[in-house]
Amino acid sequence: MDLHTSYLGLPLRCPLLASASPLSQTADGVRELADAGVGAVVLYSLFEEQIRLQELRDFEVSAMHEDSFGEATSYFPEVELGTDGATPYLKHLENCVAAVDIPVIASLNGSSLDGWSDMAKRMESAGAAAIEVNPYAVPGNLDVSSSGIEERHVEIVQTVTAAVGVPVAMKLSPFFSATGAMCRQLDEAGVDGLVLFNRFLQPDIDIETLEVHPAVSLSAPNEAGLARTWVAILRGRVQASLAATTGVETGADVAKYLLAGADVVMTASALLRHGPGYAAVLLAELAAWMERKQYATVDAFRGLLAVGTGVDASGYERAGYVAALTHAKETYGDFLIRD
């Protein structure tokens, strides 16, 4: 059984990737993932905003007390911290790249255009095989319009692809007014891959202590529908590679995404639930299914059930997007469009 595939132009030994999660916080963790057979690892995200805030806080807590009192002009040694707060991440990236022989993809959540390009360049120098940009942000500012957000996404893709030579993927939120159009715009802007979709951390409320708790929930297979639908729709419509993530629990879930047209399938939840070794189980299940279905290669069935396959090309031209979505509605259920 040949599981080889390619993603963002990178040849991979299989279509299962470990997506950003705490499992990639140590080089040993990354090695375990590689040992379990994943095709590539996406490291946890470097949050530029967080780094900047941490730098500022560190500056405040140390600088506030400097040169205030005769006995002590400072309270900390002059430690060479590297250039900034990103250094530990980049060192970690370097270590991971050295530790495994599969591609290591760095994930970046920037907060300024300068930050996006600078950090991406540094990730590239640290050996990242590709950069996954993750513009995850809850638009709490009610003055920002949807078009503003979309333009920002395009700008980020343009900035980062211009800054680095390695491929660039973007991990998207599922909450665009026009996800397809957004993806197309990003595709035109030169993105090498689209990762569908990001999960939002939605805080919970404790009704006893009356406190808000940041909550992290793992995804479940029934959440895969949304991503699968968009993969199916986008397959063949964009140049960019498609990565599906969310709700991968079994080899069957992997197969479904590939049938819908994903180039690769990513999971964090299953690996967090069952341990990094579970990747081998998923791959074995996928291989067993392929064997049963007599698919010798992944390409043999990839996109078999994508929207494009069932739609007449000229019909698609005429009816355009609506027709495609109608087909999607028939194929995948009617949660997409209710009008």
């Binding site: 500022l56 560190d58 140390s62 600088a63 506030m64 040169d67 005769g70 309270y75 250039t83 530990p88």
Partner: protein
């Protein structure tokens, strides 16, 4: 001649720059003002900088200066090139080894930032008392008078010691030189090598101990030979001055700067000559040039080599025309016939006269100047020369003070000024936290970079550890700046905090026609009207050009709230025009990148944004022809303050302490208690505000308040009849007192806005609001009202101690704190413990306080926080030294025991006269509970009443010690630097003494006061100075060491994690009739946390088992139960969740992630193992612990 790098650095750096390159070993210990030398050496070693021999010096921190000297001695005997850096008491602790090192003719250099000694009071500032106290040790003493000299003569000292075998103390004036930034030429390695040929190093090594060529050194000698052996070294000392001069000449050949052992400057036919040593020599020389230019005939002899005293050179240097020689000493020897330099000069000149070298004997007089960095100005020098011109010049005089007691002080005209017109002078008034000093350091470095410009900066700091002011004195110009004294008239005055213009004499320093730059938090059009009448009058009278900027807003908008420094620095460059504007801005940005680069790009970005935004907000303020303001600055202290506070303390507070005469000073260092309450500092606009509706009256906020600004009282409702309208109260939330009201009063003028109270408040949120029952709020508009409320609150009587439940945090809030409003850092983690001590035991408390943070915020003038109650009782407080505090406290306790016994004896002897029943009660009544103590006080009062009119020695004796019949509470308090390091031996001895003393160790896990150096309390994986690569040795378990004695009550507490346990431990410790030690977690600015999160960190420290709460009570062991109580719950979080909230740990993670990971693992292991040990101990049988074997009376 070698080309030189030009840098602007301070005297400490200039010195260690050479010392480091010439040493193989630096044995170090922090002490102000020398710590920077040790810190830099450690920093360079950590960064693997090599010395001129191509090796990286070993830098080792010792437990005390005594330890450093011991290690130095050993390293020298082992053949290494060793050095150390110290000052003041630190140098005194080295004396025993100094005799040894010198007696064995061992080459070594000790670099000293010369500092005052603790006598009637401690002073961190500069004079020659410390170096004069080692002049008899056999060390040579070489003095530097400027930053350049400190750099050059450091080399001469190292070169000379290897040639002479005589060890050297190289010293320069603490602060004045050690902390002055000045532009100097650096010596490069080739110059160093030229003066230190390796052959000398090899000879030094060959003299070392080696089993290959064994000998004994350090024998015990007897009356037959010791004397002769002591005389053997004379030729070495005789040769030394000549060799030092040779080294100076070698240096001159290399770099062109010529020095001499003694150096004469002035008129070759001078009639009046001053002899002086140290930085004062610069001032005298500059003044001499000025005086001679106006026709006088004066001169100065600057002494550089003080030991061995260069008699011939001094005699040779003296112009034969001299009629009067005035010798100035920067030291004080009470009871002597003159200070040392004076006596040396007398001996040298009279000897020369006797042997005919000198044909006539000039009159020689001596005087003192500059103690504790007292200013020594050209005006004072002129005053000295004027005095020397008198027909009978005074001797034993002082200059720079007004001695109205001894009449020693000379008059001088303070207006006398010799400053070079081409030197621009600027003074900046800032707050410690706003970064003014840091920006000025950068400014001076920028200006000093121009090869045609020289620059100098010196900084004056507040006596408070935070919330205080800083004053930066800057000079720059085309000529080298030899002015080691403060700027007294400045062409540019920056006032970086609007409030300072009312508090300090900001405008007094402005030159007529000069520039005033004001940071004014208001629109430009409102600035003039916001000034006080006095300020307006001075501005008009001096015709100042006034500029203003709302720097606070500009900084806040740039994302740097509170950091106004770069904004104002930009304005300074723009207004002063010292550099072209664009060049200045580029230079500022360059320096921002240099200073802040290692702190991250965001910090750089925001500072650059602040620079860019500054100038568009800068405004020239129109100055009218006359003052119009009706506002007068607030008086420094209120009218009802005691006379001493009004006349003496207030002068110090207002920056006029220099003008206080000798007669105003207490003769023995004794000062009144409780003066902080007169210093209403108003350092925060954000102040705690109580919400009576939501409050559950738990007392947590009052308990944790580091500044004692939150107080509670309950009282009958009728008391409110006279209350101001805005005075708040609530029904008392306690059973049995239905008619009582409760008020939690915040002392708004004293609150620092630290926010610990808000964090401690368990009420969250109040229904319908997101607020707690105590919150920070801006009080600028309501301050007067709040002051009125405090005034009313003060009229409500304190709750009777006997009616308060001491056992609970809720009850403790009603106890009056007798430690209040200290100048500790905002949110300090130590002071809540001291406040608690004062609440629980304050009216019978004696405190022995180790030197350190707590002795500074506890005892630094002008105002001190240990207070007294309405009956006039309160903590008696004293600080002896750093190293001896346990012993000092033990002495206090023993004196107390003696006098208690004496009182009991006398009382028994007078049993019949006084009344048997009363006497028996006094002698036997228990004195543990507050009610028992109150009853005992009443008995003693009654006894004294009965004793009234009774005469005779027995009665007199009894009266003199009767107060000891009420049980005293002696507490030995200090930080971890004392308890774990320098005072460890004494502490251990006191723990083993079995005496009834109580010890409180406020453990910040680092030397906080001197700036964050590692101690044996510093945990694994934390970064600290002297442990910049992360501490790799585990923290000492002081608690278990104390438990091992069996007779010691031991507790480990953290008030932020479990205040109830803290309270319990304090009370048990105090009640225990034996030695008690309480080790208290104290969060600290040196941890790198937001201080408002201090309590959260305490909880994390406990929950991760880094700080397991425990008590060990030998009395419980006596009852047959397990005396070891583990008061913490099992760890609930990994250590990483605690430590990585602190910069001290994160720094290592950022700088050396692998090592951080390794050390985290080790630290977690250490924590786990200790927890297991404690858990096991908590489940043992009583018999498994050592019994208290002391004999019970």
């Amino acid at each position: 001649m070698a080309t030189a790098d030009r840098v602007t650095i301070d005297g400490n750096e200039a010195t260690v720059n050479v010392a480091y390159r010439l040493s193989e070993l630096c044995a170090i210990y922090p002490i102000t003002p020398s710590s920077t030398m040790a810190e830099l050496a450690d920093d360079w070693a950590a960064k693997k900088r090599t010395n001129i021999f191509g090796t990286i010096p070993t830098v080792i921190e010792m437990q005390s200066e005594g330890g450093a000297a011991g290690a130095l001695h050993g390293s020298l005997q082992g053949g290494a090139l060793g050095t150390t850096f110290t000052a003041s008491q630190g140098l005194l602790l080295m004396i025993p080894n100094m005799y040894k090192i010198a007696g064995e003719l061992t080459s070594a250099v000790i670099h000293v930032a010369a500092r005052s000694l603790a006598a009637q009071g401690l002073s961190i500032f500069g004079d020659h008392q410390d170096v004069m106290a080692v002049r008899q040790t056999g060390f040579a003493l070489l003095s530097s008078g400027s930053v350049q000299e400190a750099h050059d003569l450091a080399l001469v000292a190292h070169a000379a010691t290897l040639r002479t075998r005589v060890p050297f103390v190289h010293f320069f004036d603490g602060f004045r030189t050690s902390h002055e930034l000045n532009t100097i030429d650096l010596l490069d390695d080739e110059v160093l090598k030229a003066l230190i040929p390796e052959s000398l190093v090899h000879e030094h090594r060959m003299r070392s101990l080696s089993p290959e060529r064994p000998f004994v050194r350090g024998t015990a000698q007897n009356p037959d030979v010791y004397f002769q052996a002591r005389e053997t070294v004379n030729p070495f000392y005789a040769r030394t001055p000549g060799i030092v001069q040779e080294c100076m000449d070698l240096l001159a050949e290399q770099v062109g700067r010529a020095y001499h052992l003694v150096e004469y400057a002035g008129d070759p036919e001078a009639e009046r000559v001053v002899v002086v040593m140290g930085s004062g020599g610069e001032t005298v020389e500059e003044t001499v040039n000025h005086l001679n230019a106006s026709g006088e005939k004066v001169g100065v002899i600057r002494v550089r080599l003080y030991r061995p005293f260069p008699v011939a050179e001094l005699v040779a240097a003296l112009p034969r025309t001299a009629k009067v020689v005035g010798v100035l000493d920067r030291t004080k020897e009470p009871g002597s016939n003159g200070e040392p330099l004076y006596l040396d000069a007398v001996a040298a000149l009279s000897g020369a006269f006797a042997d005919g070298t000198l044909e006539s004997m000039p009159r020689i007089v001596g005087g003192r100047y500059g103690l504790s960095s007292k200013e020594f100005t050209p005006a004072m020098v002129a005053g000295v020369y004027a005095a020397l011109a008198q027909e009978r010049p005074p001797t034993g005089f002082t200059i720079g003070i007004h001695d109205d007691v001894g009449g020693t002080s000379l008059d001088y005209d303070p207006a006398f000024d010799i400053e070079d017109d081409q030197t621009l002078r600027a003074v900046f008034f800032g707050l410690g936290s706003d970064g003014t000093v840091g920006a000025n350091k950068n400014t001076i470095k920028i200006l000093g970079e121009d090869p045609n410009r020289f620059a100098q900066a010196y900084f004056v700091y507040d006596s408070k550890k935070s919330g205080g002011s800083t004053i930066s004195h800057l000079r720059f110009g085309p000529h080298p700046i030899k002015a080691p004294y403060l700027v007294n008239t400045a062409g540019f005055v920056g006032c970086h905090h609007f409030g300072l213009i009312d508090k300090l004499d900001v405008l007094g320093l402005a030159r007529p026609g000069g520039v005033l730059l004001l940071d004014a938090p208001m629109a430009a059009g409102e600035v003039w009207d916001a000034l006080s009448r006095q300020a307006q009058e001075q501005i008009v009278a001096k015709d100042l050009q006034v500029y203003a900027i709302d720097a606070g807003t500009v900084a806040r908008n740039a994302g740097l709230p509170g950091r106004t420094n770069t904004v104002l620095q930009t304005c300074f460059f723009a207004i002063s025009g010292v550099l072209p504007r664009d060049e200045a801005i580029e230079e500022i940005k360059k320096s921002i990148r240099k200073s802040y680069g290692r702190r991250g790009q965001e910090v750089v970005r925001r500072n650059e944004a602040a620079v860019d935004a500054a100038l568009e907000h800068l405004h020239r303020i129109e100055v009218p022809d006359e003052a119009s303001s009706q506002r007068n600055p607030r008086p420094i202290v209120a009218d009802d303050a005691p006379e001493f506070v009004k006349s003496v303390t207030a002068a110090m507070m207002g920056g006029r302490g220099d003008a206080l005469p000798v007669s105003a000073m207490p003769v023995d260092g004794t000062y009144p208690s409780g003066t902080t309450k007169y210093e209403k500092r108003r350092i925060s606009d954000l102040v705690a505000e109580w919400d009576p509706k939501g409050c559950i009256q738990c007392g947590n906020c009052a308990f944790v308040c580091p500044h004692s600004v939150i107080r509670s009282k309950f009282y009958p409702a009728v008391a409110l009849d006279a209350a101001p309208e805005s005075f708040e109260s609530a029904p008392l939330n306690a059973a049995g007192l239905p008619e009582s009201r409760y008020t939690l009063q915040v002392y708004a003028e004293d609150c620092t806005g630290c926010g610990l109270c808000v964090e401690a408040c368990p009420v969250t949120p109040i229904p319908g609001s997101s607020r707690k029952a105590i919150n920070l709020t801006d009080v600028t508009a309501s301050l007067d009202q709040r002051i009125e409320n405090v005034g009313f609150f003060e009229t409500i009587p304190h709750n009777e101690r006997a009616r308060v439940d001491f056992g609970t945090v809720r009850g403790a809030q009603f106890l009056e704190p007798l430690f209040e409003f200290s100048g500790a850092c905002n949110g300090c983690g130590e002071t809540p413990y001291l406040k608690l001590l004062s609440q629980l035991f304050g009216d019978r408390l004696t405190v022995a306080n180790a030197t350190g943070c707590s002795s500074i915020y506890g005892g630094n003038l002008p105002t001190t926080p240990w207070a007294r109650n309405a009956q006039g009782r309160g903590p008696a407080w004293s600080n002896s030294l750093f190293e001896d505090n346990a012993e000092f406290g033990l002495g206090l306790q023993m004196a107390s025991d003696l006098h208690t016994q004496l009182a009991q004896q006398r009382l028994s002897a007078m049993r019949e006269e006084i009344g048997a029943a009363l006497v028996d009660e006094i002698l036997t009544a228990p004195q543990i509970r507050e009610s028992e103590l109150a009853a005992q006080r009443a008995r003693v009062d009654e006894m004294l009443r009965r004793l009234e009119g009774v005469e005779g020695p027995m009665a007199e004796d009894l009266r003199s010690v009767a107060d000891h019949l009420v049980r005293r509470s002696v507490w030995i308090v200090g930080g971890d630097g004392w308890a774990y390091d320098i005072g460890s031996g004494g502490l251990d001895h006191v723990l083993a003494s079995g005496r009834n003393v109580n010890i409180l160790v406020m453990d910040t896990e680092v030397y906080s006061n001197t700036g964050g150096q590692s101690s044996k309390a510093t945990p694994i994986a934390a970064v600290a100075k002297f442990a910049s690569a992360g501490k790799t040795i585990a923290k000492k378990d002081l608690a278990l060491q104390a438990v091992a004695y069996g007779s010691v009550y031991v507790a480990r507490v953290a008030f932020g994690a479990d205040p109830q346990q803290t309270l319990r431990a304090f009370r048990e410790a105090e009640a225990y009739d034996g030695t008690s030690i309480v080790i208290a977690y104290s969060h600290c600015i040196a941890h790198g946390i937001e201080m408002s999160k201090g309590l959260e960190q305490q909880k994390r420290a406990v929950n991760s088992a880094h700080w397991p709460l425990m008590r060990y009570d030998p009395k419980v062991r006596e009852r047959g139960q397990n005396p070891f109580f583990l008061d913490s719950p099992r760890p609930t979080i990994p250590l990483s969740d605690y430590i990585y909230k602190e910069l001290r740990y994160r720094m290592l993670k950022a700088s050396a992630p692998e090592e951080a990971e390794r050390l985290l693992e080790m630290a977690q292991q250490a924590v786990d193992q200790r927890w297991a040990t404690y858990e096991e101990m908590a489940t043992r049988e009583a018999a498994q612990f050592l019994p208290d074997s002391r004999k019970k009376d």
